[in-house]
């Protein structure tokens, strides 16, 4: 007879509801979206097959390129700066603050810097929209109160300051995520390694180099997840600037949304979202390769 549990048969029914729903909610819409991207369609009536024309149009569209350029710039605010600051801060809290002021103090700071992360992105946008408001916002009011009224401006409404303002908000919002991940990563480092560095009298910079090397797996995870997150940014842009002024803060996600729901260019919107998907999948594959190579090197 044999054990019923040693066989892998008989479990398929448990997968059935999950797979059916997955097919309905993810596979079918994804395939449909891909199909729509090859048509000209305004959302009603019959889509007209136009092959790859939407993709050709995207490559010749200045707004499309602006959205990706803004996205690349936003990666600085979402990925690069928070990763560097987060790692530095985590190392400082772990190596300097925790041993001298207690791990409670380190946890306190970690929790405090993490707090913005718990807000829904749209609410974070509302909070900052209020602070930066040119009529009654705290920032301009304070600048005027201390005699720096010349610096006051419509931060989100001025093409020169809109994107930098969004970037600043994103750094504020994102710092907590790498901080939490790096602090837990440092806890798994063998204390003897750091003690050895201490005995050798390694400089602060050298010690930081050692730490950065030891948490490379977490750095990879943070860089991948936040880069993908940057490519999907929508809520903040919707609430803060609606992609404006002009197209100063347009991002692919918002551009796709505009084409779907405001301009009724559904085929074009589908093509943009398909291109976003391709970039994200390429990034994920590249990341898995780097990670695998990294693991092989560590195993040697």
């Amino acid at each position: 007879m044999g054990s019923r549990f040693s066989k892998s048969s008989g479990y398929a029914p448990f997968l059935a509801p999950g797979l059916v729903l997955f097919a309905l909610v993810i596979l079918a819409p994804f395939a449909t979206n891909l199909g729509i991207s090859l048509t000209k369609w305004n959302g009603v009536g019959k889509p007209v097959w136009i092959g790859l024309a939407n993709y050709a149009r995207a490559f010749g569209d200045a707004v499309f390129w602006a959205s990706f350029r803004n996205n690349l710039i936003l990666i600085f605010a979402v990925t690069i700066i928070p990763t560097i600051v987060g790692l530095t801060l985590a190392d400082f809290l772990f190596e300097y603050v925790a041993p001298r002021a207690g791990s409670g103090a380190a946890s306190f700071f970690r929790g405090g810097f993490y707090l913005p992360q718990v807000l829904p992105v749209a609410i974070a946008g509302v909070v900052w929209g209020w602070i930066l408001d040119p009529q009654y916002g705290v920032l301009d009011w304070t600048l005027k109160a201390v005699g720096l009224g010349g610096l006051a401006r419509n931060w989100l409404g001025d093409a020169a300051t809109a994107l930098p303002s969004v970037m600043f908000i994103m750094v504020w919002f994102q710092i907590g995520y790498p901080l939490v991940i790096f602090m837990s990563a440092l806890q798994r480092i063998d204390p003897e390694i750091m003690e050895a560095a201490e005995v050798d009298g390694a400089s602060w910079r050298r010690r930081f180099g050692i730490v950065a090397h030891l948490v490379v797996p977490e750095i990879l995870v943070v860089v991948l997840t936040t880069t993908i997150y940057a490519l999907k940014l929508f809520g903040q842009i919707y609430v803060l600037t609606r992609g404006g002024p002009g197209n100063a803060t347009i991002v692919p996600s918002y551009f796709a949304y505009q084409n779907f729901f405001e301009k009724a260019r559904v085929g074009y919107g589908s093509a943009i979202s398909t291109l976003m998907t391709l970039i994200i999948i390429a990034l994920t594959i590249a990341f898995i390769n780097v990670q695998a190579r990294q693991e092989r090197e560590m195993a040697l």
Partner: protein, 280 residues
């Protein structure tokens, strides 16, 4: 090392703690400023600006805004949708992972890859067909649409996580249950689910909060005022009305408050969960 607590290094510690505290305070300033001005009258704000303490602290602005957007309904909508998604999402993850992690059904690697890829897909690439299908099925602008969609999206992550947890599940326990005459369904309910309960609760907490914070699809799917969630209602109101400073700050406060409460209630689960998710 023991000698390191000299006076010089202690002063260094105090200075760095002070600097760190100032930076933290600046980072938390938006929370403080919002809270401060939600309790002022517009006249108070106009006279003394955003950084003074309220002269005549009042709840009236918050209460007015609450009534204007019918905030109680919005809270209930968010709670109801998030709780349903967390429940169904966890149930789906459990079923999928039972088949993939413990059952090791044929093609499990391919299925797992499918779930992982689904996890990174941008919602933009699903949004228009979902919107169109929901309209065709008559569930557009109804909360059931968002509940179904997010239960499946969240379960893509949950399946992946629970499958890797279950691949290390002690099989002797299952063998023993079989001797007692359990079938596979009973084994799932009586043995696997209780053993996995701590992880399932963490998953539940995360699904709840993630769904609460969602913006893109709820914005598209729930257009009736009475069906909207907290983040949608607050941000839409922000755009529609020409609000004065204190009302804007009351709205931001009401949007922030539930999430800050979640944070203090589940701080350990959240920070540990975020870290655990980074290294599988």
């Amino acid at each position: 090392m023991g000698r390191a607590t000299s006076r010089g290094s202690r002063i260094g510690l105090y200075i760095s703690l002070a600097v760190l505290s100032i930076v933290l305070l600046l980072s938390l300033l938006p929370f403080g400023v919002v809270a401060l001005n939600a309790f002022k009258t517009p006249a108070d704000y106009a006279a003394f600006g955003p950084l003074s303490l309220p002269r005549h602290p009042t709840l009236s602005i918050v209460v007015d805004f609450w009534k204007r957007v019918d905030f109680g309904t919005k809270l209930w909508n968010s709670f109801y949708i998030s709780a349903c998604v967390a429940l169904f999402g966890v149930a789906l993850s459990l079923l999928n992972a039972y088949a993939l992690g413990i059952g090791r059904v044929r093609g499990r690697t391919a299925f797992l890859i499918l779930f992982v890829v689904a996890n990174t897909l941008p919602q933009e690439s699903l949004a228009y067909p979902l919107y169109y299908f929901a309209k065709a099925l008559g569930i557009y602008d109804r909360q059931i649409s968002i509940i179904i969609i997010f239960s499946v999206i969240q379960s893509a992550f949950g399946t992946y996580l629970m499958s890797s947890v279950f691949s290390a599940f002690p099989r002797e326990i299952l063998e023993a249950s079989m001797v007692d005459g359990c079938n596979k369904g009973q084994a799932l309910v009586r043995i696997v689910a209780p053993v996995a309960m701590p992880t399932l609760l963490v998953l539940f907490t995360f699904f709840f909060i993630w769904t609460w914070n969602e913006f893109f699809l709820p914005l598209i799917m729930l257009i009736s005022d009475a069906r909207q969630t907290v983040p949608i209602a607050i941000s839409v109101t922000q755009g529609q009305h020409n609000m004065d400073a204190t009302a804007a700050s009351a709205s931001a406060l009401l949007g922030m408050l539930p999430c800050v409460l979640f944070f203090f209630a589940f701080q350990r689960t959240l920070t540990r969960g975020v870290a655990a998710g980074s290294v599988k």
